[in-house]
Every structure is written in C-alpha cells, then in structure tokens.
C-alpha cells in the first residue's frame, strides 16, 4: 500500500501524486459515518430532556460505540414512521414520488461548500426514504436493496443523527424541485424520530428547555430581561440623548411586541434591540401604545428544530400572553425561523386568535389585511408602512458611513415571501445599498449555515462550509462596491453571519435593519448625533468628540 499523505514517505515517493487520497467512494447505502470534529453537535443533556418529558434521557456521546438506545428502539422508530406517514401528506408523498432527477443536488450550501455527497438534498432524503422502502413498501420488503431499500440498523440511526443535523431546513432545494419536495420536511420528521429514542442535539434541546421554563431560549429570568432592556435603553440614551425605555407585561396596551431573545444579550443583536426601542419611543408621541413581555420573551422557536409538538408547546405563549395582557394585536421582530412558525404554524396550532383584533397600524390607520387571522405583523411590514405614509422623519445620510447589502433570511424568503418590505426600509434609511448576485438572494438565498439548531461552536467547520456560498457572495459585493454591512432580519443570522463574514469576507459587519432605521430616525429637538448606535463616528464626524 502506498504511503498516506500524512506520512513522510508520501513526499519522497517519485510518483507521489498518483497516490489516491480521495475519500473511498462507498456506495451511499453504506450507513457508516465518521464523526469528524467540527461536523456534529453535542447530544442533548439528560436534564434538558427530563424537563421536557422527552424520552431516554442519558449521558452519551455520538463518538461512543454504544448509544444507549432503548431495547426496542427499532420498533419505536418504525412505529413513529408509520404514525407520521398517516399524519403528514407531505412526508408520505415525499417518500414516494422523488424521481432522483438531481435538480436539487447542487443546491445545498453544505454540499456546495463541503462536498460530502450525502449533503445533496436528494441523498439526505434517501437516507430516510430507503428505510421507508424497505419497511413500508411491498417491493422493498421483497426485493430489499434492489428496490432501493435499506434495513434499519443502529448505523442508520447514527447516520441520520449526523446528516439530519447537517441540514438547516432552509428549503432552498424545494424551490428547484419539480414536485416541491421539501427536505426540511423530511429533516423535521427525521429529527422527530430520533427524538423518540433520545438522540437529539443539545443546542436545540437546551434552548427549548429554557424557553419552556423561562419563556426564552437564553433562560433569562424576568427581572434580568427587564434589567437588560433598561440597560440597553440607557446605552441608547447616551447616543441619542432621549430616554427610550420600554415597559413590560403591561395590561391593556394596544400592541404586544415579541422578538427573539438572542437580541437582548448577543452582539450585534443588541443594537437591533436598541433600534426597536428607539423606533417605539419615536412613535409614542404619535400614539403608539406597545408593551413587551417577559413570559413571551422569545420570538424564536427552537421547537421547530425538535418536533411539531414542541413547536406548539413553545408557541402557545405568544397568544396566551396576548390574551392575558388584553392587547389588540401582536407585532413581531426581526427573526427568521420565528416567522416560519408565525406564518405557517401558529394560527393552525394555537389559534384561532379570536380574542385579538385585526391589526391596524395606530399611526397610519393601515389595515394589515394579510395578517387578519393570525393577527401578527412583521416589523418590516409595520415600518415600511410608516415610511410609505411619511410618518418617520429620516436622515439616511446618517448611515453614509456604511455600504449595505441585504441577506434574505431563509424562512422569511421561502416560507413567507417577505422580500420587498425589508429592501424598501433599507433603501429609505440608507443611501448606499447594493444587491448580491441574483442567484444568491430572494427565494434563491443561501443559508448562513447555522440555522435549525446548528449554530454552535462545536459545529464551526461545518458551518463555515455551509456559509461559504453566502460568504462568497458577500465578498463579491465587498470587492465590487466596498460593502461593509450585511443587513439581515434574523437573530440567528446576526449571530452566525458575523462568523461567516469574519472568515470569508473579513471587514463586513452584520446588522439588523432596525439598527439602520434608528440611526436615520430624526427626533424633534434632538441633540446632534456624532456616532451611530454602535458608537462608531458618523461620516464627517470622524475624530470629533462628544
């Protein structure tokens, strides 16, 4: 056998380059997986599973030989599959009709940036589909492998764990599928099945457990949430000279505002949070009556990355709190998967929200007819309407020190179609806006690589692979137009794209849209601003001190 590239002999060998160091080309039906560092996530801790009454809490690691599954794990998985085949037409259909045309193959950011064939959406789905064929179709039962079936073994469970947690449920592949097969749907169901035998990731389950108990993913206690919000209000006051403090759990307010908790602690999300406070304070004089909640202090919903049931268990707080506080409708902050849940699941799961009123902007009188049943409005819809009706005095030149591009977050783009509102807002608050190339934005947008519960440090290499297509497009506008800000409407983006940009397009900072709005917002009789909300000098103010 020839020396391996790690060995010195390899380089002395006269024909060194004929050594084949391709990964062995194994048939995909072979389920064995190398758990390489940087490509998998720590398993859910027992204590978190216990809080949520989820099965098989225990301490284990994916690199262990024995995963400590329950004795009847196979039965559990197959029964779970059978149940879901009867409950979800999507799952049933997507198991049956794929023709393996390959249109989706090179649409996944993980495949593009990493090159593992099992990250082609078609194969990711086939990992589950092959089990379906073997155990649920006549042809598969008789012909087995020949009919594309695979026996369900422990190795398959391990393979599922590896690859279903390498999918960010971004739905890009589904845009290109001639039958609309949505890998996210298969990933979600596959994760539910893994959940049944206690194989889930801590980075999804811990936020879920936190959210269940404290109302938010970060596990922030009510007083701390208020304390932090007040602190950020004070930081804002330092810059704009106006008290922007909000209030909490106030009954009888007209609107309840809910946003992801990532924005109250995380940088740069906190600046977006300061942006919300600023906007709400500005509108207060025009009659905005809005409150925040510590109980529904989480817009995001990591239940989406866990199971359908868990989505419902966490989401219930939004309507419950709106009802308790007797508000008229709910305004939602900038968050990606939160809006997938709000737009596609909330009303079905926890509605009807007949105790709320059809949303009407108190400032412009605009009826948000597209939200008349769910009664929840996206803040870029709200702000776009304000701008359209000239209710905001804006000075976009206060954002002249930034050159902005916009990253469509997967869920608002592909599970909602919120494409123009954020752009409209950005264009009105910034003078320098540049789009990334067409096949990387809007419905074709590339994921940040850290969605669906994957945005954790131990997954760093995988995330950077997945972030490459996005980072590459950012780099392009950076080189071409000197872009230095990447705007987005997602809290996960605000955490993970920072890293993606640091690696692939260093120098580009990540921002929420309402940070830019607040920078441009001109209060009556305000003091002259010399810095933006980040404390960075405005254009023409460099070197000046307060």
């Amino acid at each position: 056998m020839a020396a391996k590239p790690d060995e010195m002999a390899y380089y002395k060998h006269s024909k060194m380059l004929q050594v084949d160091y391709k990964p062995p080309s194994r048939d995909w039906m072979d389920p064995s997986v190398d758990f390489r560092p940087g490509s998998w996530i720590y398993p859910a801790k027992a204590k978190n599973l216990k809080i949520l009454d989820l099965p098989n809490p225990r301490d284990w690691s994916p690199t262990d030989e024995d995963w400590k599954l329950p004795d009847n794990w196979k039965e559990i998985i197959l029964e779970g599959m059978a149940e879901r085949l009867e409950k979800y037409r999507s799952f049933r259909l997507f198991m049956d009709i794929c023709v393996r045309c390959g249109a989706c193959a090179d649409k996944c950011h993980f495949f593009i940036g990493g090159g593992d064939p099992k990250n082609m959406p078609v194969l990711r789905a086939e990992l589950v589909r092959s089990i379906y064929r073997r155990h649920f179709t006549t042809a598969g039962k008789i012909f087995g492998k020949l009919a594309g079936g695979r026996e369900l073994t422990i190795d398959v469970i391990k393979e599922w764990f590896y690859y279903l947690f390498q999918c960010t449920e971004c739905r890009r592949c589904s845009v290109f599928c001639p039958y609309g097969i949505d890998t996210a749907e298969i990933t979600m169901i596959g994760r539910e099945l893994l959940n049944l035998v206690g194989c889930h990731i801590n980075w999804a389950i811990e936020p879920v457990a936190n959210c269940f108990m404290t109302g938010n993913h970060m596990g922030i206690l009510p007083h701390a949430y208020k304390d932090m919000a007040d602190f950020l209000a004070e930081e804002t006051e330092e810059i704009i000279g106006i008290d922007v403090k909000g209030d909490f759990n106030r009954k009888g307010a007209e609107i309840l505002f809910i946003t992801p908790s990532g924005d109250i602690f995380g940088d740069p999300g906190i600046i977006t949070f300061m942006g919300y406070l600023t906007l709400f304070r500005y509108l207060k004089d025009q009659g905005l009556d809005i409150t925040w909640s510590t109980y529904a202090s989480e817009g995001g919903n990591f239940g989406l990355f866990t199971s359908h049931e868990m989505i419902k268990r966490l989401n219930v707080k939004m309507y419950a709190e709106a009802k308790r506080l007797k508000v008229k409708w709910i305004l939602g902050g900038e968050c990606g998967h939160m809006w997938r849940v709000v737009n596609q699941y909330m009303d079905t799961m926890n509605g009807p929200a007949d105790f709320l009123e059809e949303p009407v902007s108190p400032i412009t009188g605009t009826k948000f007819e597209n939200a008349k049943s769910t009664k929840m409005v996206h803040i870029t819809e709200f702000t776009a309407d304000l701008i359209k009706n000239n209710k905001l005095k804006l000075d976009p030149s206060r954002n002249d020190h930034v050159k902005v591009t916009f990253h469509d977050s997967c869920n608002p783009a592909r599970a909602m179609g919120l494409l123009e509102e954020p752009r409209y807002v950005i264009k009105n608050v910034c003078n320098n806006f540049y789009e990334m190339p067409d096949n990387t934005i809007r419905e074709q947008t590339f994921c940040c690589g850290g969605g669906a519960g994957l945005g954790t440090e131990e997954m760093m290499e995988m995330r950077l692979r997945g972030g490459l297509p996005r980072g590459n497009a950012v780099k392009y506008v950076q080189e071409k137009h000197d872009v230095n800000r990447l705007a987005c409407i997602c809290a996960i983006d605000r955490a993970t794209l920072v890293t993606v940009c640091d690696y692939w397009a260093p120098g580009v900072q990540v921002t929420g849209i309402h940070e830019l709005v607040a920078n441009a917002l001109v209060f009556d009789g305000e003091k002259e601003r010399t810095t933006d909300l980040r404390g960075e000098p405005l254009k023409g103010m460099e070197g000046e001190e307060e």
Binding site: L85, K87, C101, F212, R313, T348, M349, G417
Partner: protein, 335 residues
C-alpha cells in the same frame, strides 16, 4: 448491478414476449395480459392517489418563491407566491405543463470562465437540458398516447387525426416519420446518458431509475420498428384494439411478433406504474409545498388531528418567579 439488473429485466421481458408470440399464445399475450395489466394500472393508480389523499395536510407549508401579498403598493408575485386558489391553479398548471421549477434552475447567467481572456460571458447551465429533455419526453409521451387513440376509436376523432397530421408535419420518409418518435427516443437517451455519466447522478441512481428508462426505450423502439421497419398488419391491430374496447376481444392472425413485444412491454409498464416513482405523475398534484396558497396569516388552516400538548402556563411561570418580578417592578397577577 444497479444498471445491469434493470437492463436484464427488460431483455427478459422482450424474450418472454417473443417466445409467447412464436409459441402461439396469442390470446394470452393479446388479450389476457393486456386486460389484467390495464386493470392493475387503473386500480393501482386510483388506490395510490386515494391513499395519498386520505393522509391529512396538517399544516399549510407552501414554498414561497416570490414576494408575498402585503400592501397594494408592493408588487407581489401572484404565481410564485399565490394567495388565492386561482393563483394556485395557475402555479400548478405552470408546474405540471411547463415544469416551472426545473426551468428556474436554468436562468441564463453571467458566468466566470476560467482562464478565459474574454472575461465573463453568458452561458446556459446544464440544468436547462434537464428541463428541456424532461419536457420533450413528457409531451412526446402524451402526444404518442393520444395518437394511439386512433386504434381504439371508430370513427377517429378529429383531434386525433389533427395531432397525427401535425406530428407527421415534416413529411420525411414513407410512412412519414412522427416528430415525437424521434424526440422521445432522443430524450430518453439523454435522460439515460445523463444518469450514467454525471457522477452525482450515477451515485444516487437506483435500479428503479434505470428500469423505467429501459422499459420506455423498449416500448418506443419496438413501436418504431413496427411502423417503419417490420411493417405489421395495422388493420389487424385495429381489429384487436376495437375488440378490447367493445369487450369482444378477438385475436386476428398474422399481426407480427414485434407487436406482441410492444404490447407486452406496455403491459409491463402498466403493471409497474402504480408501484413506482412513475406515480410522480399523480403525486405532483398533491404536493403541499406547491398546491397551497400562502395566505396562512389571513385564512386559518385547520389541522384535523390537532391535540392538546403539555405547556408551561403563565400562572406557573409567575409562581416560579413572582418575587423576582415584583422586585424588578414588573406587574404580576397575584401580589
């Protein structure tokens, strides 16, 4: 193996038909098998579609591929992000008739050409060929199927004759070569070659992907041979076909072996169809990411199997944290 087995299977099928026809089992191959196959096809397809349709759609999960309906002053994309049933129908029609999603893949783009002094240039991605071949294949197949109605009808409906006329419009050769015959052969060949030479595709392809291609190739090839080369007895075939339709099957003599091969392969396709990926034909109509409107926030969708779940209520939450809340001046329900 994945390729060889389906190839062998089709070869065996052809041999069986040959053997049957030469052994004089005309009634079996000309009447019994076609009838059974057709019955399996109809029942099978209906059964599968009913099976799918019976499974509920708990959530409304369309993939939105354009601007949502929000304010009147924002231009929305009615087709790719439909908000009404009418728009969904248009989306589905474009999807089913024109393979819109596959086409999306293939926008002309400015490409970075390696080592080219000419700089970037506009080219078409290879996926366009997939769309084109897919479209050519499916439309040709449909046209050919409709053309075959002339065997089953008397008098022949005018649209069938018209289609035949158009299909043979180029008047090349005697009898005139149908354009669709050429197109479907080319398309099937392309779809096959693509599967074999693109490593990604070869890697994912199963026997179930090759078998229908070989089978359809066999059907078309035997049909073409019959029409242009071996020249079988068309009048006899019409008699046979009319016999099936009128439920008075008779088997005229001297139809020709090639016809039985053709018929047997078609029968196989009928039997295979309902149990295979070919059911995508029916499935595409039911796909929840395509056939639902994105109007979730305006019209509530009902989940028929919704059930109550364990939640953490506000009261429990306040009980946990009341003191902390009071200290921070956050209003509480119970003092």
């Amino acid at each position: 193996m994945r390729l060889l087995f389906p190839l062998l299977a089709v070869a065996v099928l052809i041999l069986v038909a040959f053997a049957g026809a030469t052994a004089g089992l005309n009634f079996l191959f000309g009447v019994v098998i076609p009838y059974v196959a057709f019955a399996i096809f109809v029942f099978g397809v209906v059964l599968r579609v009913v099976q799918w349709a019976r499974v509920p759609v708990p959530f409304r999960i369309p993939s939105t591929c354009g601007q949502e309906k929000s304010f009147p002053w924002i231009k929305r994309n009615k087709i790719d992000n439909p908000s009404s049933t009418g728009a969904v129908v248009v989306r589905m029609l474009l999807e089913i008739l024109l393979f819109r999603s596959l086409f999306r893949n293939t926008k002309a783009e400015i490409h970075y050409e390696p080592f080219s002094p000419a700089g970037p240039k506009v080219t078409y991605g290879s996926a366009k060929w997939l769309w084109l071949a897919g479209l050519a294949f499916h439309w040709s197949f449909l046209t050919i199927a409709i053309r075959h109605l002339r065997f089953f009808t008397e008098p022949i409906p005018s649209f069938v004759s018209l289609l035949e006329y158009l299909d043979g419009f180029f008047q090349i050769g005697v009898p005139a070569i149908y354009a669709t015959d050429a197109v479907i052969l080319a398309a099937v060949t392309y779809l096959f070659i693509r599967r074999v030479i693109v490593p990604q595709l070869r890697y994912i392809s199963l026997p179930a992907d090759y078998f229908p291609l070989f089978l359809i190739f066999g059907i078309v090839a035997s049909g073409v041979l019959m029409r242009y080369v071996t020249r079988i007895d068309v009048v006899g075939i019409k008699e046979l076909a009319m016999g099936w339709v009128t439920l008075h099957p008779t088997v005229p003599d001297g139809i020709g072996v090639m016809f039985y091969v053709h018929l047997f392969l078609v029968s196989t396709l009928f039997v295979y169809f309902p149990f295979s990926k070919l059911m995508h034909m029916g499935g595409v109509f039911l796909s929840p990411t395509r056939n639902l409107a994105n109007n979730n926030r305006a019209v509530r969708h009902i989940n028929p199997w919704d059930y109550p779940v364990k939640i953490h209520t506000y009261d429990e939450y306040e009980d946990d944290f009341r003191d902390l809340m009071k200290q921070a001046g956050i209003p509480v329900e119970k003092e």
